[in-house]
Symmetry: C2
Subunit: 359 residues, 2 copies
Amino acid sequence: STLKLGMIPADGIGREVLPAAQRVLEALGSSIPKPEFIPLLAGWDHFTKFGTALPEETIQVLKTECDGAMFGAVSSPSNKVEGYSSPIVALRKHLDLYANIRPVASVPGMEGKQVNMVIVRENTECLYVKQEKIETLPDGTKKAVAIRQITERASSRIGRMAFELALKRAEERAANPGGSFWKGPPKVTIIHKSNVLSVTDGLFRETVRAVKEKDASNRYASVDLEEQIVDSMVYRLFREPEIFDVTVAPNLYGDIISDGAAALVGSLGLVPSINAGDHFAMGEPVHGSAPDIEGKGIANPIATIRSAALLLSHLGYTGPAARINAAVNSVLLEGQVSTPDLGGKSSTNEVIDAVIRKL
Amino acid sequence: STLKLGMIPADGIGREVLPAAQRVLEALGSSIPKPEFIPLLAGWDHFTKFGTALPEETIQVLKTECDGAMFGAVSSPSNKVEGYSSPIVALRKHLDLYANIRPVASVPGMEGKQVNMVIVRENTECLYVKQEKIETLPDGTKKAVAIRQITERASSRIGRMAFELALKRAEERAANPGGSFWKGPPKVTIIHKSNVLSVTDGLFRETVRAVKEKDASNRYASVDLEEQIVDSMVYRLFREPEIFDVTVAPNLYGDIISDGAAALVGSLGLVPSINAGDHFAMGEPVHGSAPDIEGKGIANPIATIRSAALLLSHLGYTGPAARINAAVNSVLLEGQVSTPDLGGKSSTNEVIDAVIRKL
Ligand SMILES: CC(C)[C@H](C(=O)O)[C@@H](O)C(=O)O
Ligand SMILES: CC(C)[C@H](C(=O)O)[C@@H](O)C(=O)O
C-alpha cells in the first residue's frame, strides 16, 4: 500500500521547506507505507499568474486521491485585491478541517522557558467567515462591518477535540514520564472574551464546558477545566507558560496565541500544526512565507518536519512520528546544526540532513 | 482654581489602588491647582446591589462637573447576566473617550527587556460595539453572531492621535536624551489583520496610512510608518520589543497587545493608561479587579499612580507629571519597597508612601 500525500508549497519559503517533509518521510523506509507525493498548486503567486489562488483541481485531488496533505505558506497582498482570498483559509473551509492543532514545547534539557502546551484552534468560523461589507455614510466617510460567527456545533466539536487530546497527552506522559515537561493532571483551558462578547464568546465558553460537564459517560472527569480571558492569556503565556496543557480557542484568538507561544520556544520556525477534520488532515508550519529570507536557502525546516510527524501521528503512525520528533529534538539539543533564526549558520538542507542522520 | 476629578473605584482592588492617585496628587502641593475628588459609583458590585453597573448620575457628574477622572477596575461575571454590561466599556462610549493610550516602558537602568513603547488603542468600536445576537437553528443548536465595526472617522482620529504622540515623544526625547530607552526616529506601527479582514482592517490600515500620506502640510513627514499583522505583532513583541515606538490598533487587538506588553515590564501592576477624548480624559490602570488578592492590601498602586501622571500630562501639567514618574522610577530602581507581584513584600500603602517621599 502507499501513502498518498498532496504537497502544496504555495509561496515564498513554503517552497523551500516543503521538500523537508518529503525527504524525512522517504527516509523512514518501510516503517510507513511507501509515500507518494502529488504536487498541487495554490497561493498568491498562482493568483497573480492565473487569476486564482486555489485551483479547483487542487481541492478535487485532495478530496478524491489523497490520504493527507502538507501545506507550505502563503504570501498576502497588503492591499485588498479584487478576487483574491487566502487559499489556506479557503482550504480549511472546503475540506472542513475544523481543528488547527498547534503543539508548542520546549526541548527537554534545553535552556529557556519550560513549556509543553497545545493550542487547539477552531478553524472554520469566528471572523474567518469573511462576511464583510463596506458602505459610504451620508457624510461621505466609510463604514465597514464584519460578522463574527460562533456556533454551538463548531464549538462543541472543537471542545471534544481538546478534551480527547488532553486524555491522549496524559496517556503519552504516563508511558514516557521523562519525555515531557508538563507534570500536572490533564487540563483544558478555554480562551475567550466573554466579559465583552457575552453572547458569542459566551456560547463558545458554555458549549466547551458542556462537553465535559454534560458528558453522561463522565469520560473527561479526570481533566481539569479552566478559563482565561484572551488578554490575560497573553500576559500569562509570557509570565508562566508552564501552567498550560491543552488550550482551546475561537479562530482569531487561537491565531494570536499561537504566535505568542512560538515566541517562547525561540522561533516560529520550530512550531508545527495540523489542520484536522473528521476525514482529512493537512500539516502546515505555523510560520508565514517570510519574504525577507525567501530564496536564500536558510529557512528553518523544523516546523515542517514536525508538521509531517504530527500528520503521521494523526494517521495512526505514532511510532514513526515519535522517531521524527526524537531526531529533531536531538539535533536541537546538540545545537551544532541550526538555521539563522536560531542563531546558527546552517542552511535548510543541512538541517534536513542532520535530522535524517538521527532517524 | 481647583482641579475637579471624578473618582470611580468600582470593584475589587480598584478600591484599594484608587486612593493612591488621590494621595500622590495631594502631595504635589501648589504645583497643580488644588485637587478636589468627587467619589462616583459604578461596577459589578453596584449592579448586584442596585441593578445598574453605571448609574446615570455618574455620567452626568463626569460630564458637567469634572475636569478629568480616575477609574479603578471592574469585575465581570463569567456567565452572561441579563441587563449587565461592562461599565468601563460604556463610560468610554458615553464620554467618547476614543483613545486608550497605554505607555509601556522599562525603567532606565533596570535589568530585563528594554522597551519604551505606547499602545494607542481605538476605544469605541471594533467588536466592542457589542451588537450580538443568538438564534436557534432548525437542528436545535445555537448560532451567535457579533458585529465588528470599523469606521473611517474613528480610524482617522485614532491615527492622528498616534502620529501626534509620536511627534510629542520625539520632542521629549530630544529634550531629555538620557531619560528614554528608544533611540530611533519617531515611528508609528499599524496593527491589523488585513490579510484576512481585508475590508474592515483594510479600512483601518488605509485610513491610518492616509493620516500621514495625505496630510497636505506634511506634518508627519519625520514619522516612519510601519505595519504588523496582529499575530506576528505578538511574536515580535516578545522577541524584539525594542523595535516599537507608537503602535496603533483597533480596539480588541489593542486590548490583547497591551497585556502582552505589560508582561514584558514585569507586571500588569505597573502599566497605566488614559482613556482620552477631545474634551475629557480618564486615567485607568491596565490591570483588572484581581479577585485573588482583593482585600489583602497588597495590590500594586504604581499603575494607578502612573495613570494619574498621564492624566496630569494630558491636562497640560507636564512638569508635575514628570515629577511623579521620576519618583516612581526611583522607587522601582531602588527595589526596596515593592508589592508581591514584583517579588516584594510591601503593602499598597508602603509603596504609596515610598513614592511620596521621592516626590
Ligand atoms: C496567513 C493567515 C491567513 C493565517 C491565519 O490567520 O490563519 C496564518 O496567520 C496562520 O496562523 O495560519
Ligand atoms: C474589563 C474589560 C472590559 C477591559 C477591555 O477589554 O477593554 C479590560 O480588559 C481593559 O483592557 O481595559
